[in-house]
Amino acid sequence: MPTDTKCKLQPTPESPICAWKATSGATVTIQIKELDGGGFIDFETASYAGNAIPGTPGKTISFAVAAGKNDLILVYTFSRPDDGHGELREVCDQNTFLATIRAASKAVVFTICA
């Protein structure tokens, strides 16, 4: 849990490009929330703005938001590869819901605009 508990990612589904908006330079921590019946899920690999994010495989990753539009690339691994599911949330005081994790979409790209 980061010391600064304020949420930094704001989902923007209405934006054609940006999945989330954030402030440049902020350190963001996101985590996988496993749900009943959804099996175990880990980040298998993760990269942001072209750089690998350490800590994978694992359920939590942290990175510093870069200026501009940058892609966060996530690959999930599922103990239930056919129908596993969970949630992607920010580790912060509001525990912001960021996206649904589905076994049908094992590799995803989120564009973060800052």
């Binding site: 099996g39 690999t45 495989p57 239930r80 056919d82 790209v109």
Partner: protein
């Protein structure tokens, strides 16, 4: 001027409802896309908009979009989807050596499963037999070759639950997972005997002879069917193993590039994930359209999706499909060769799916009940058929119990002048307790097993003899010239065995060493101490190294079976 006039028309067209809600049936939607649409319907309102974004943004649902591209008429007519034949693949957990009773084996009790692709075992010794033999056993599963082809991307993967049209009529693939086979070759130098009979008048000191050969190079074969499988993919033990192996794959990839990989290992999953990222990036790049066109399309589609009446059956699917078709029209126009990237992505995700399933099955699924048929064809003896029921159960995390019950029949009718002769040759029972000793840097994976074996000898063991021709390893004296079969006094067998299996570092080589004590053998009615040893190699790890990612790594040594 033409642009100015057409822009409002274009915007109006983008924003207009594409389907009169409730008027049209739901169009067919790929399963990967349907799961996103289902989430829109069932998730609370605060999450719904994010699910709508997932349904419309290619980057966030790459598999769905790749499937949609490959299902477009312009693509199917070009023959791209001919690759979409898929299959189900899995499992490991192995017995590499000969089955119990086939001669030359080291294990008194048979285990439920064999190698996923192929294993080879060379063993020497004797258990119930009186003469030690050398045998080489090849074992594998019927689905093994398909796993290899899938890893090479020559055929895609078809999950059991898939509703994809390409997976229709592919249910037999999943049935293959239940079947395995084994063939045991007798490698004794004297496993072939040649008999010569005078066949004509001698010419001086020369005598014409007709030679006949008698050999049993294949000394046994078997077929297995897993009747009951136990799957545990939700317990704490499973979770611990799963995360430990995933973590080891990541750290060892960095620490020891180029090292050998073994099963169970998450390394193939890790390699397939890297390939998947590259394929997704290529797909996104190949499906670019102008920012303005995309923004106009997305804004209109997003609002249209938000206004769909979710209670109306098929309305969501109809609106979404119409919007996506419009988007894909634009993509196709701007990128005529986008189907190639979609196909490459589906192949990459197919491989990643398969590797995940193999990995999960390796640590989650264990056979509980297996039926085995053995056809034993020992040299110099009547051939037999054995039906065996194999029960496997993990007692604790490191201790497993295996029990066998079997009966053997002679394959042909025997002469009735042998006292006590019966088609039912014997009945067998074996129980084995195995303790995994873990892995260390010197011995690799190690396990020790204690086994008790009982054989009720209903009919005496019979040897076929040819006058003047010795049986390998057996010398008969005082035999009448007319004797063609000999038999021993029958008696029940009790055998106890202590068996140690050693690995070699992180490799897939195994060295079984065993010592056994029996009250008698099938031929000799005296107690005997015997030793058995062997070596086996599991080729699964070799085939698993076909990944394109550069970093292969050492992984934890597999559990000893």
């Amino acid at each position: 001027m033409r642009i100015l006039l057409s822009t409002p028309i274009l915007l109006a067209a983008l924003h207009a409802p594409l389907f009169s809600q409730g008027a049209s049936p739901a169009p067919p939607v790929p399963a990967e896309c349907q799961s996103v649409l289902d989430d829109i319907r069932k998730h609370p309102p605060e999450q719904r908009n994010l699910d709508i974004a997932d349904a419309l943004k290619l980057k966030q649902s790459g598999t769905c979009f790749a499937r949609l591209i490959l299902e477009r008429p312009s693509v199917t007519s070009a023959g791209f989807t001919s690759f979409l034949n898929k299959l189900e693949a899995v499992r490991t957990d192995k017995q590499a050596g000969a089955s119990s009773g086939s001669g030359g084996g080291t294990n008194l009790a048979s285990k439920g499963t064999t190698a996923g692709v192929l294993s080879l075992a060379a063993e020497s010794g004797a258990l119930t037999e009186s003469v030690s033999q050398q045998a080489v056993t090849v074992q594998g599963s019927l689905d093994g070759p398909f796993v290899v082809l899938e890893r090479k991307n020559l055929i895609p993967y078809c999950p059991e639950s898939s509703t994809d049209l390409a997976c229709k009529n592919k249910s037999w693939y999943s049935a293959l997972r239940h079947f395995s086979y084994g063939v045991t070759f007798n490698t004794n130098q004297n496993n072939q005997t040649i008999t010569g009979s005078a066949s004509g008048q001698p010419g001086g000191t020369a005598q014409p002879v007709t030679f006949t050969a008698s050999s049993r190079q294949i000394s046994a074969w078997n077929a297995r069917y897993i009747i009951v499988n136990h799957r545990d993919d939700s317990s704490g033990d499973f979770k611990k193993s799963w995360e430990k192996l995933l973590g080891q794959a990541a750290t060892k990839a960095a620490a020891a590039p180029g090292g050998a990989s073994t099963t169970p290992s998450a390394q193939p999953v890790s390699d397939a994930a890297k390939a998947l990222v590259l394929a997704l990036q290529s797909l996104i790049a190949a499906a670019q359209i102008s920012d303005d066109d995309y923004a106009a399309w997305y804004t209109a589609a997003y609002e249209a999706m938000r206004s769909v009446d979710l209670q109306q059956k098929g309305a969501l699917e109809s609106e979404w499909k119409a919007r996506i078709d419009r988007y894909l029209d634009m993509v196709e126009k701007a990128n005529p060769k986008y189907a190639g990237a979609a196909l490459a992505y589906i192949q990459a995700v197919s491989r990643y799916d398969a590797e995940q399933r193999i990995f999960v099955e390796t640590i989650a699924s264990k056979p509980v009940l297996t039926l085995e048929y053995d056809n034993n064809r020992p040299l110099g003896q009547a051939s037999t058929s054995t039906a065996r029921l194999i029960f496997d159960k993990a007692v604790t995390k490191t201790v497993s119990l295996t029990a066998n019950g079997a009966f053997a029949l002679y394959n042909s009718t025997l002469p009735q002048n042998i006292p006590g002769v019966n088609r039912l040759r014997d009945a067998q029972f074996a129980v084995q307790v195995q303790k995994d000793l873990g892995t260390n840097s010197v011995l690799g994976a190690a396990a020790i097993a204690g086994t008790y074996y009982f054989q009720y000898q209903n009919s005496p063991a019979i040897l076929n003899v040819t006058p003047g021709t010795p049986l390998p390893g057996i010398t008969l004296t005082g035999l009448p010239a007319t004797a063609t079969q000999v038999f021993a006094a029958k008696g029940n067998l009790h055998i106890g065995q202590l068996r140690l299996v050693l690995g070699a570092g992180g490799s897939s080589v195994r060295f079984p060493l065993a010592i056994s004590y029996s009250n008698r053998t099938e031929l000799i009615a005296k107690p005997a101490w015997k030793a058995q040893l062997g070596i086996s190699y599991d080729f699964d790890s070799l085939f698993a190294r076909s990944s394109p990612a550069p970093a292969a790594s050492a992984a934890p040594a597999p559990a000893v079976k």
